[in-house]
Each structure stands twice: as C-alpha cells, then as structure tokens.
Amino acid sequence: MMNKGKALSLMLAATLSVSALTACGGNKNDNGASSPAASGSAAASGSASSGAKDTITALLPPVSPTYQDNFDQMEKDFNAKYPNLTLKIEPASWEDMTQKLDTQVNAGSPPDIAFIGSDGISKYVQQGMALDLTDVATPDMTGDYDAVPLEYMKNGNGLYGFPAYMEVHALGGNKQFLEEAGIDWKKVQKDGWTYDEFREAIKKGVVKSGDKTSRYGFVFATAGVASKDYLGIMAKSAGMPAAFTKDLKYAYTSKNYLELLTDLRQMIDDGSMPKELSSVDAGKRWNMFLTGQTMITGKGLATFENSAKKNNAKIDANDGSAVKDSIKVDYIVLPVPTFAGAAPVSSTVVDGYVAFRGKKEPTAEHKANIAKAAYFLSSGKVAATTNNDLFAAHITKSGREAAASMTIDRSADNVAAVETMLSHAAPARPDIPAELGAKAIKIENEVIVPKMQALLAGEIKPQDMYDAVKKAAIDAFGQDGIVQD
C-alpha cells in the first residue's frame, strides 16, 4: 500500500512538472510575442478602436556602438508615445543576424521588424514574407524621409520598411602613416584614385623586417559576416554598380569582373595585403588598424572616426582599457579606388527597418502598428542619436531637428570627403524584380563567397573564379540573361 502511494505521488510530480514546463517558456507573455504576428492581434481584435493592446517585435543588431545599450529606453519611449503598444526588442549580433532572421522567416514566424540592408529586401519579397506598408504608411511618415533613401526600401510598387541611414562604404586611413608614405590624402579625398595609383600607394605603406611584415599597406575584412563586403564594394567602382544592368542582365559576367578579381589578387601577391586575408574578420581589421599593423583598413565607416577618437582618449587616460598595444590614430576617410577605368561609384548602402509577416496575414491594425514602430525607430530622437553615433547623415526632417541640439566632433575633411562620395552614389534599383534579386543573392551565397575565400587564400586563379560565377549565372539566368562583352 505504501508503495502504491509512492508511485502515485511520483506520477503526480511528473505530471505537475510537465505542465509547468509547457507553461513556462521564453517570451510567452500574454501578447504572444514569439508566435506569429496574427495571434497577437487576434487577441486584441475584440475592440475595433485603435486603442487595442498590441505588441510589436523587433530583431535588431548593434547598429551603432551604443545602440543596444539604448534598447530599454527605446522600449520605454515607444510605450510612452503609444500607451497601448509594447515594443519588444530582441538583440542579435551582426554575425548571426541573418541566420536568426532567416530561421524565423522560414519557420513562418518572423519578428515584425528586422534591421537589415535594403539589398536583402528582394529575397524576402520573393518568399512573400516581406510586409508591404504602402497602405498604412501615412503621408506624415513618408514625407519625413529624404527621397533617395526611401527609394531603396521599395521593391516594385511596394514599400517594405523605412530607411535608417544612407551610408557610404569607404576605406579608412591612418593619417600619420599616409603622410609618412608621401600620399596626398587630401587630393585623394577630393579626386579619388585609380587602381594603379592605389596599388602604388599601398606598397609604400608596407613595413617589413626581413621576412616578417610588421605593417601592411591595406587590409580588408573578408571573414564571417564581412565576406560579401570586399567584392560588393569594389565591384561598384569597377563599372558594375549593381548586380544587374539597366536592361536586367546579370552584370558580374563582364570582363570588368575578371579584371577586378585579378587586381584584388595582385595586391596580396605584391605583399601589400596579408596572405591570411581570408581569415581577417571585422574585429581583426579594426584591431590591426588600431595597433598600427596596417595603413589603410576596409571597409571604413564614418563612425570609425568616432571609435578611433575614443581609443585615443583611452590611451591618453592610460587606464589599461585601450586596445592592447594600440597607438593613437587620426582616422582619414578615403574613397574606394576605381578599377578598369570605370567612373567612381560609391557603394552607398541604405540600411533600415524592414517589416515582415508570418504565415497568417496580419490584421490591418497590426500592420498600422508595425508601421508606427518602424517609423518611431527610424526617425526623431532614436534616429538622431543613432546616426550621430554613426557619423551618418540624417535622412529625416525630424531626425535633423532632434540632432540640432547634439554636438559631434568630426573632422571637416572627412565630412567633405563623405559628401563627395555621396554625390556619386549608386542609384537605387527598385526596378529589379524580386525573383532576379533573390537569384543573385543565391549565387552570391553559394558561389561567389566560397570561391572568393579560395581566391584570397591563393588556391584558385581569378580566371577559375570568374568561370565558376559565369557558369552559375548561365544556369540561373540563361545565356541571354547575362552580360557578355
């Protein structure tokens, strides 16, 4: 008898624990933040008025150095503005941002908003998972943005989110090293440089002792999340400002591409770039710059000037918090060289807050709320703080207003350089159909990135990579869909 009781109590305990398990989950608050967008609003759809409670989920990477520290404040401010709405922010690192988002998208339950580059929009439109905000974005909202960046967030006829900033991807130089090497960086900032000029310049920046190179002329991050940057940015200044030409032919089969690949390989063979380039990731390229191991680093964002200044201050303070073995650096914005005699086209990037839908179509009300949240994040005070941190230009009227009272300490030369580069920005291409865009992204992931790794490691020749890309392009677009010159 005693044992039956023991058994019963055991089973009771087991049942209790199982039900406790199903009850306690991660984000399962009563707004169902982790379930598809619709169920959140389904609970709220009882009342027809706009005051119904709703939660908007956002997946955000460290957009600026202090961005993620501000999450709590952002959630509070949003709730203060719209008392019936809750903004739930989930942080991600740059490295696993894509992975996380894709996993959730493909499971049919993505976050309502995610911060990504506008070039990724076509992929999600193709899957039908990007949310068109055209009918819920009020004229007040859309009117706040500068026309050019807003274009980047469009695909076909739909508007899939709001832009946060328009950035120029450039290179960053160490002023002292540049001057030591006799490079007139002021002229370069104004007039740009061709590949040949660039090649010679970086050779001058190399410092060797015997067999060991203690300082390289040029370093560019190519590992991890940065793997697409190198080619992507350089290609724009090589006569291929987008993956497709104006008549929608795939551009990376042009002979310019082959020349670009050859030039990139050449810089490593010259000894101006480390032969372990394929293992340099974003953290390392900045580390090498700060420790004086390279004269020029890439990619260079305007905000790096800020980071360099901060590290200089730490060195001055001598409190041990500066990067180990780092030196004081004056950061100079430098344009990307042009290849194959092409006209300079800056790699302008518009990143922003893109909206998503789950398996179930969200209610009109929830859509409107998503638009409100996306607008909140990309304009006004939030945008002003973020963009200032990033040294990025403000692209909303409200952002400019909010920023008027904030001071930033930026070198005038660098500001002018960025302006120059912005003047030949690559134009937005909402005319590229989502299907083609998605295919181009696939080729980039499956062929270009792996082959680039091998090219940088010196294992294949530029011709091999070019042939592989061409073959994949023909498979995807047919002989007529590619550029042949």
């Binding site: 998208v105 493909n106 293992s279 499956e446 792996p450 790794q453 091998a454 490691a457």
Partner: protein
Amino acid sequence: MAQSAQPAKKSKIKGDGVWDYAFIAVALIVYAMFTAYPVLSAFIISFQEYKPLGSTYIGFDNYAATFKDDLFWRSIKNTIVYTVLTVPVALLLSFLVAIMILPLRKKLQTVFKAVYYLPVVASGVALSLVWLWIFDPMPGGIFNQFIGWFGAHNQNWLGSSATAMFSLVIMAWLSSHGASIIIYLAALLGIDDSYYEAADLDGASFLQKLWHIVIPSLKPTTLFLLVTAIIGSFQVFQNAYLMTGGGPDHATTMVGLLIFDNAFKYFEFGKAAAQSLILALIIALVSLFQFKFLGKDVDY
C-alpha cells in the same frame, strides 16, 4: 516454479499484461513522436519543395538534384577522407595507450583514465573556441609559434584547403580518445590469465602474446568501436561548422554540414531531407559491410 535441477535458463516472468506496456509507454511515446514520426516525415518532405507559406510536391527532383550535385559528392569524399584519417588512428592510439596503461598500478591507471577522459567532458563549443585560437593564422598563433620552433613558416591553418582538413583531423586526434581508451582497458582486463599462462609455457614473447591472444580477444570490442566511430564520423558537423564553416571553398564541407547548410542556411528543407536519407542509407550499408566482413565470428 524454480527448481534447483533446472539449468541456468533465464526464464522471464509472465507479465501482468497492462504493466508491461505501462513500463515502456513513456519511452515508446517519446520515440514515436520524436524519432519515428520525424523519420517518416523526412520521407515526405524529401519529395517537396519547402516554402514558408506552403510546400509543393516535386516528386524525385530533390534526389535527382542531389545525385547531379558536385558539391554533394565532394562532401561525401571529404567525409570519407576525414573518417579514414581519424577513425583508424584514433582506435590505434586508444589501443596503444590502453596497452601501456595495463601494467601500471590501479591508482595510476585511474589517474590516467581520468586524464584522458577529461577532454570528452568539456563541450565541443568550448573546445572549438580554444582550437580556433590555437590555429590562428597570424605568426602569433600558438600552433604557428610551435612550428616556428622548427623553422617552418606560419600557415593559414583553417583558411587554406591544404591545411584545413588536416587541422580538423589533428583536433580529432587530440581530443576524442577517452572513451575508447577506457573501453579497451576494460576489455583487456577481462582477458583471462590462463591464456597468458599457457602462452608463457610455450615461451611466447610479448609481441606473440599480443598478436595471438590480445587482438583476437579484443575483436568484438574493436568491431563495436569501429562501427560506432564510423557512424559518428559520418555525421560529423560541429567542428567543421564552428571552425571552418565548411571552407575554404568547401574543402572541409562534410555531408553533415552540407545537410545543415541546405536546411538552415538556404532553407531548402526538401533537398536537405533527401540528402539526409541518402546519408542514412550510406551509413547503413557501410555498417552492414563491416559486420559482414569483420564480424563473422562475433556474436553481439
């Protein structure tokens, strides 16, 4: 009723009907839901093209695409290379180490057993972090410093295809022996002394005893270890994923990693399911082959 005259026949109790099934109920339900169902489901999915808003049936396309896919065959080759380089060496090393531990005092034996098992206890993620730093391609990387003592140039261990696979193999050689060593040791201790005594009478040497007594007695153990190691090695994924990501240019893409990439990077679930079933078939065939040719006189 148990009669003392009965030989040592293990008789089973006639069950109480309900209780028999009750005892295995939970295990069976978990198995059905989380193993059996997914396997069947994998069959179905392998005939579909997955889309988040609703999959479509495409017949054998996934299988056809897989067989035509160069990358798939390459990954099979990579996996075979990895298996051939790691499994026999690992078994041999474990065997040698076990033989060496054998004559030591019990306390010392336990110390060494614990020492070799320790890396198994640490997680793969933690170890991969450490190895990443050991393999750092800059001249300051630990491994590069080590070979620097011998005057060799620093290598891009994980970034160049000549050395990437080799690096993963070294990692395997140095970390996964604990379990096999202990198993071999236990098996060695189980060999009856009378065999040795008989051999000693015949004046057999150490090597002769090794060859004629030890190795044959260890055959079932070796077979077990070989089969499980190969099954495990064919599924290897974690180290490649965390350390090289399958690169450079797919030099270290194993089948397990390819399936993962197809499933969770490119979200082509149908293709991934088809490939995983093909992998299962390959593993089954290889295991069958091993049992047939190596396990002739082993009853397990």
